[in-house]
C-alpha cells in the first residue's frame, strides 16, 4: 500500500482532527434537530378513517384478488 504518512504530524493532523470534529458536530446537530422536531410536532392521530382506509385497501390489492362486478 502506498501511503503518505506524515512522520512529523504538524498541521495536517490538526486540520484532519478539525474536519472529524466538524463532521461529528454536524451529525449530532442533525440528530438533535430531528428529535426536537418530533417533540415540537405532536404525533399524528392513529384513528383510522374507515372510508379512506377502505379505498386504500382496495387500491393495494392485486387485480387478481378483486371481486369482479356482478353482471
Amino acid at each position: 500500500m502506498a501511503q503518505i504518512s506524515t512522520p512529523i504530524n504538524s498541521y495536517s493532523l490538526a486540520v484532519h482532527l478539525l474536519v472529524l470534529l466538524v463532521a461529528m458536530l454536524y451529525k449530532q446537530t442533525k440528530k438533535l434537530s430531528l428529535k426536537l422536531r418530533r417533540l415540537i410536532r405532536p404525533a399524528k392521530s392513529t384513528k383510522v378513517n374507515p372510508a379512506i382506509s377502505g379505498v386504500s385497501l382496495l387500491q393495494s390489492k392485486p387485480q387478481s384478488e378483486l371481486i369482479p362486478n356482478q353482471q
Binding site: A2, I4, T6, P7, I8, Y11, V15
Partner: protein
Amino acid sequence: MSKLRRLAILIPAHNEETVIADTIKSCLKVVTKQDIYIVDDGSTDKTAQISKKYVPHVLSLKPNQGKAEASNTAIAHFKLATRYEYLLPMDADTQVSQHFLEQTLPPLDRDKKQQIACVVGKVIGLKHNFLTTYRIWEYEISQLIHKNAQAKENAIIVCPGCATVYRASIFQQIKIPTGTLTEDMDLTFLIHRQNLGRIVFREKAVVITQDPQDIRNYVKQIDRWYTGFWQCVSKHNIPWAGQPLDAEVAMLATEGLFNGILTLTLIALIPFAFLNHPEVLAIPFLLDLAVFMLPTFFLVIKRHKHWKIFAYLPQFYLIRLLSCLIFLVSFIKVTFGLDKNMSWRKIARYAVTK
C-alpha cells in the same frame, strides 16, 4: 443481459512462493476458487505451480510486465470488467479477513445509482519488532485520523492496492495506470480526475499485510512510496485542477517538505544545542512527546494491546527523522528527473508464523 458474477479477486504475483499459498487460503475463506485469479508476472520461482494447486485460473506472463500492466492483462484476459460486479485486487503478501466483504460490499450494493467507485478497507500489520510496530502505529494514525477525515472531504489520496473493492465496470473506462512507482495512488488520483465516483472508507474491513522487518527494506519501501507520490503529483497536475484532492495533497506535500527542512535544521542545531542551549531541542521534543507521541501511543495500546511500543520510543524518533529526509530527497529526485531509471523495488517477504 446475462447475470454478472459477484466478486473476483485478482492477485498479481512476482516471485511470491513464500507467501502466495497463505494469501490464496485467506481468499478461499471469502470466495470460491472459481473467483480467484492469479497473474504470475514472470516469476522465476514456484509461484505459478503453488497457485495452480489451489485455483484453476492462473495466467503466466513472460517476461515480467510490472504489477499494473500484469493486472491490466489479466483483467482483459479473464474479462473481469464485464463478467463481474466487483473486483478486489489483492497483493500477494496480504491476507484478507473473513469479514472484509461483509463490510465492503453493502455500501456498493445499496448504491443503485452507482455513485461509489470503490470501498476502501483498513490495512493492519503484524507485530515483530520496532519497525513493524512503528508501521502499526503509523497505519493507525493515517487511517483512523487522516483517512477518515479524507473520506469526509471526498479526498482520499490512496486506495490501498490490497484493500479496495472496485466496481468492476470502472475498468471498462480506465486501465490501471503505469509509469509511476505507486500504481494504487496513481489509480486513486485517476478516479478523482475522471470523476468515476466517490471513494468510501470502511474501517472495519481489515486486511493484514507484511511490512519490512529491517531498515534496508523499510527505506526501500518508503523511498518507493514517496517517489511514487511525487510522480503522481506531477502526473496529475496537482494542485491545479480545483478538486478536494488537490487541496489535500497540497497540504500533505507542503507539510512533508516543511518537515524535511525542519529535520535538516534540527540536525544542524545538535552541536549548538549540546554546547550552549539544550532547550532549543528539548522544548520541541517535549512538546511533540506530550501532544503527539504519547496520545497516539495510548491509542495503539488501546486498539492493539501492544504495550511494548513504549520500549521503542527512541527508535521511533529516528525512523521519523529518516522518513522526513527520504521524503525531501524523493522530491528532489522527481523534480530534477533523477527517478527515471527507478524500478519497482520489492521488499523481502517472510513466511507468516502462526
